[in-house]
């Protein structure tokens, strides 16, 4: 097609697009290398705080990373989920694709795989992510993703336990009139 090659990515992360295009058109690598380089730029630049280290802290204040790469020529896939203490998530995913017959590795074992492949163990927390987490704790852990637990998650931090009293009126319901927890600045 005369319209090829092409690189497209979600959001206005233009440095990533340009980096991928450069790889794709300058014989620096193939189309998968282009994906890895493009997404790696976002990881290093911490695009909108939604990609890479130092963003989206969990309830414990830890940042974990997820990444995925798929080869449309072979249908081969490499993915990591809940990757801890490794900054280069998309590159680790590519190592899963290239050097294993698996599709996805998760959590601490994905970290062990990354270390074996030569990646460096690093703290993914930053002063900014720590501040985001502390602010959330100071606001009684609002908002959060719990429902039907005690104490009321719309008012209190955990630890929580299941609301097993089984009285429907006593269940803490998700308030559907409230906005979604996801928006332009908080998304997968």
């Amino acid at each position: 097609s005369s319209k090829l090659p092409v690189v497209i990515n979600t959001w206005a992360f233009t440095n990533s697009t340009s980096a991928a295009w450069k790889v794709l058109t300058s014989n620096e690598g193939n189309y998968l290398d282009a994906i890895v380089e493009g997404c790696s730029v976002c990881e290093r630049e911490q695009c909108d705080g939604t990609v890479g280290y130092g963003g989206s802290p969990d309830e414990n204040g830890e940042t974990t990373l997820d990444a995925f790469i798929m080869d449309g020529a072979t249908m081969n896939i490499g993915a990591v989920a809940g990757l801890r203490e490794i900054k280069d998530a998309i590159s680790v995913a590519y190592h899963v694709l290239k050097y294993t017959r698996h599709t996805m590795l998760v959590g601490e074992h994905a970290t062990e795989f990354a270390l074996m492949m030569g990646f460096k163990r690093e703290n993914l927390q930053t002063p900014k992510s720590l501040a985001i987490w502390r602010d959330w704790k100071d606001k009684n852990c609002q908002p959060n993703f719990w429902t039907n637990v005690l104490p009321n998650p719309e008012k209190s931090c955990g630890p929580y336990c299941p609301n097993t009293e089984n009285t429907i009126n006593e269940f803490w319901k998700v308030d559907d009139t409230k906005n979604n927890l996801f928006d332009e600045h908080n998304h997968d």
């Binding site: 097609s1 005369s2 319209k3 090829l4 090659p5 092409v6 690189v7 497209i8 990515n9 979600t10 959001w11 206005a12 992360f13 233009t14 990533s16 697009t17 340009s18 991928a20 295009w21 794709l24 193939n30 189309y31 282009a34 493009g38 997404c39 695009c47 705080g49 939604t50 990609v51 890479g52 963003g55 989206s56 802290p57 969990d58 940042t63 990373l65 997820d66 990444a67 995925f68 790469i69 798929m70 020529a73 249908m75 809940g82 998530a89 998309i90 995913a93 998760v106 959330w136 908002p143 959060n144 993703f145 906005n179 979604n180 927890l181 996801f182 332009e184 908080n186 998304h187 997968d188």
Partner: protein
């Protein structure tokens, strides 16, 4: 999250995602980004797609796989993107998410829901630099 599609001059297609997920998630939670067919999908015979938004919802519908299958059935990228979003919205009218879709010829489009407009970045033959395009949600 970033979701990306790259197609070379020979029509080889790659798709990928990278994310740190949802803020204040329960430890251990994983979104749609690393799930095949949810965050992204690619097939040289057809095209590719990549999604972004509320991963807890999106992973229940495999929108990227759905969009690629719609391409396989003859849909345009725009129609495939809208269909994939529509399947989610039927069940979750307060959902927030978006999807980019490209066919193997290099035609592309996007669809979104839950925000005013969705920006996506494109670098294609004939352009000097990356251009940010928008689709109204």
């Amino acid at each position: 999250t970033i979701g990306m599609i790259a197609i070379d001059a020979e029509g080889n297609i790659g798709a990928g995602t990278s994310t740190n997920g949802a803020t204040h998630k329960i430890p251990g939670r994983v979104g749609d980004s690393p799930i095949p067919g949810a965050g992204a999908y690619a097939d040289n015979n057809v095209g590719a797609a990549a999604a972004t938004g509320d991963g807890d919802i999106m992973m229940r519908f495999l929108p990227s796989f759905m969009a690629v299958e719609r391409l396989r059935n003859g849909d345009s990228p725009a129609s495939a993107a809208e269909y994939a979003m529509g399947r989610i919205i039927e069940h979750y009218p307060k959902f927030m998410g978006a999807i980019i879709v490209a066919d193997r010829e290099g035609n592309y489009s996007a669809a979104c829901f839950g925000i005013d407009k969705f920006p996506y970045s494109v670098f294609k033959t004939g352009q000097e630099s990356t251009v940010v395009e928008y689709v109204k949600c």
